[in-house]
């Protein structure tokens, strides 16, 4: 819900106002603060039993001030006025030792707003019931699955951004989150680790009613017995949605965000408005979406976030730059940052997409090294299957893939009609050609 600025927890506002008063009193030109109060309630399962209930109360304050474009930043986890005054003094001292940077600044005055979503109080009984059902449903339908851990947590967070230009924004969110790690085991044979994460509003939903969850558990069960092959070949990858998420984070880091653009290493730095990918590629950052509860309403530097396309029909439309990154590079500030995103679906049914592969891999997870600044990457294909003559055949182990992220976007030849939803993202299956695939 969006409304005029109003903070629920007065202690948050008091802490923020004290920070700004101190910033002004100490002689800084301008400054900003993030203040938040969070209560985490976690139910944890490990080693065959529900093992722990955990409650974490945490307060956080970050202070940034500028004097003659010299920056000092301090983070603390206390609303105590003595601690806040000390933090501002420390930030002042840091700024005094820093070199000036003309690109530094804070968000200019805009409409002050507040957002809210979800429940403030966790329903621990419902969380417990959901966890018990999830384990029972898994044991019944996927008997080879063995969970290393499952965490169901509720996070209630109210956060406030305030700066000396008069900007005031707040966001109050209460959401549930499920995380886990599991293998399939049959006697002494075991699959690779696998996992799925989900963010949601209602803990009374049964986890195993999700098609995505059932698919991942089913595929993992089929990976207990794997095969290797010898030699290497150039083939196709069919990238599953969870693995695509991993590649999109890499693409953000290597091509689109502050670090790559300020340093000048981004291979796309001069490519705005140009065709950098297959016309099938559509990649958008999300601030608001009816199916994605994890979307954030606020940017990290004091603006209201907006949905924003990065790549549209293969054309680079926007970079994902902070206010500082934009000032530093002369490019436009992003209306969002890579956090919650969608990849546009195509018009190829998944079955047909796989049927078009002569030889390749259905890639479930990528365990790889950090891509090089040029986008080169290599790593191990995990939770994956061989595709031969349009059919998914053996589950694989000890298979490596090597390619280049930019080339992979250009060599995208099909995008599935179907998509999956984690609460953070909405992603399809993507088929890429010409990747080096090597066995033992």
């Amino acid at each position: 819900m969006k409304q005029a600025f109003a903070v629920k927890d007065q202690a948050i506002l008091d802490a923020a106002e004290l920070v700004l008063d101190e910033i002004k009193a100490i002689g800084a030109d301008e400054g900003e603060t993030w203040v938040s109060r969070n209560v985490l309630t976690e139910l944890y399962y490990e080693l065959g039993k529900i093992s722990m209930v955990r409650t974490v109360f945490s307060d956080k304050v970050s202070v940034k001030l500028l004097k003659d474009k010299r920056k000092g930043t301090v983070n603390l986890n206390s609303f105590d006025p003595v601690d806040i005054k000390q933090a501002v003094a420390d930030a002042w001292q840091s700024a005094g030792a820093a070199e000036p940077d003309e690109a530094e600044g804070i968000a200019e005055l805009h409409e002050n707003l507040s957002f809210s979503a979800g429940d403030e109080q966790p329903d621990l009984d419902k969380m417990y019931g959901q966890l018990v059902d999830m384990i029972a449903d898994t044991n019944r339908d996927f008997p080879l699955i063995s969970y290393d851990s499952i965490g169901i947590e509720h996070n209630h967070n109210e956060k406030l951004y305030a700066n000396t230009n008069g900007v005031r924004l707040s966001d109050e969110v209460g959401l549930y989150q499920l995380s886990n790690m599991f293998i399939a085991r049959d006697g002494e044979r075991a699959s690779s680790f696998n996992y799925f994460g989900t963010v949601y509003k209602d803990p009374s939903e049964r986890v195993l009613e999700s098609d995505r969850v059932r698919r991942i558990l089913d595929e993992t069960q089929r990976q207990v017995e794997t095969e290797q092959f010898e030699g290497s070949f150039m083939g196709d990858l069919v990238i599953m949605p969870g693995c695509l998420e991993n590649f999109l984070w890499y693409i953000g880091d290597t091509y689109l965000q502050d670090g790559a653009l300020i340093s000048g290493t981004s291979p796309w730095k001069e490519k705005l408005g140009e065709q950098i990918a297959s016309p099938l590629v559509n990649f958008e950052l999300i601030a608001e979406h009816p199916e994605l509860p994890a979307a954030s309403n606020l940017s990290g530097d004091g603006y209201v976030a907006e949905n924003m396309p990065l790549i549209e029909d293969g054309v680079l439309k926007n970079f994902s730059l902070s206010r500082y990154g934009a000032a530093k590079t002369g490019l436009k500030r992003s209306a969002n940052s890579v956090g919650t995103f969608v990849f546009g679906n195509g018009d190829t049914p998944l079955e047909e997409l796989i049927a078009g592969v002569e030889k390749g891999i259905l890639l479930g997870r990528f365990s790889g090294g950090q891509p090089s600044p040029s986008g080169d990457l290599s790593g191990v294909a995990k939770n994956s299957f061989l595709i031969e003559n349009g059919k998914v055949t053996n589950p694989l182990s000890e298979v490596m893939i090597a390619g280049n992220l930019g080339d992979m976007l250009r060599d995208t030849v099909a995008v599935s009609r179907e998509r999956e939803n984690s609460g953070y993202w909405l992603l399809p299956w993507v088929r890429v050609k010409n990747v080096t695939i090597s066995g033992k």
């Binding site: 209930v53 409650t55 945490s58 301090v74 075991a190 699959s191 040029s374 000890e398 090597a402």
Partner: protein, 465 residues
Amino acid sequence: MLQDHLHEYVRKHGFTGYTELRAQENRNRAVAMLNGSLVSNSSGISRGVSARVVKGGAYGFASATGYGDDVEAIAQIVRAASDNAAFLDRHVQRGQPDFAPVQPFSRTDGFEHDVPVEQSYLLGIVDELDSYIAERFPSLLSRRVFARVLNMEKLLYTSDGVVSHSFVPRSNVYIFMTTQDADGQPVELYKVLGGYGNFPATFKNAEDYFGNLEKQHELLMQKAEGVYAKPGVQTVILDSDLAGILAHEAVGHTVEADFVQTGSIGGPMFGKQVASEKVSLVDIAHTAFGELAPVPVFVDDEGTPALDQMLIENGILTGYMHNKESARKFGHEANGNARAFDFSDEPLIRMRNTCILPGTDKFEDMIASVEDGYLMTDMNNGQADSTGEFMFGVPMGFEIKNGKLGRAIKDTTVSGVAFDILKTADMVSDTVTWTNSGMCGKKQMIPVGMGGPAIKVKINVGGRA
């Protein structure tokens, strides 16, 4: 140094049932320069109190920010943890007895390194290093210099009467240099300096490290002219950094007792030959080869005194890493592997300083023994699996042809199944080096040390066809 307000709580309230009570402060500082611009200049404190209570085998945990002389605030946290344990105990009714008590003791470690450091000191070191790079290597596409400080202080009281107050400092500087290859593509190489210790003692003068910068630039130029490695199984000498991450990622995780119980390959291989007899692997608690290890742990966060944990002895898998609960289940000794990162984190089974012990081979002889293969010198990240299959990124290495080092190679990845790879280890060098910048992720992040000699193995390389 944290004041001891927990003592007053314990004197006034005592403990009811098995309880760990911990006050903790993580202090950090960060300075980052990107092409001469100061993109980060921050410091931070994370301070708070946590309690973990166990009732009938059900764990309740609670924590809150802030720590002071308000004994009632501490009591509220203990009560919240106790309520959580009671909620779970009502539902699961596991009926397990408390852990066997340990002998009470009290100790203090590491505070001789607790020296105040000003942000301006970090800024000065980073600025000098950055200026040197800018002046000496003006044709670089980009340069980044980061300084990071993480000082962790913990004050632990347990219901067994254990009192431990510890301080563990870590100080690192990261140097990234990027150039372009003949095709105009960016090529990067980074190095990490520093390790255990406070920042002023670790980085007395920036100029002490100018030699490292010259060497790094020389390697980067070689890498820019480098070639892609050949894909498939190759003979590779993994230098110390890679042997260390092999010890951590590929073996260490599979012999953490929680992963063993989930079904890792470390379970069925206990007592069996998992490596060549030249390979011995140990998780060092605090002291190795007469010096402090990179991340010394004297008492873990369950109050267990920390001892070295032998994992592989002359190729035989002989041990697991435990917390109190897994040690009881397996009938083994717990040797201090239960560690928590922040005040709000519960202790998990974690490595401390995993190290392959040195062998007897000379590094030069190892190179000379390879007809066609690679020397891999640097690593950037690694992941492991329950099956023992692992990968790590390799940002620097060289071809070896006819016993001599050849061209540099571009970024690649190596992978394999740990116990298969270690069985191929036929040479182990006689010198160990440590890395101390690693953070291991497993629900929480935590600092770890990794060490090893160079080892010669056959391993799968993710090269280009």
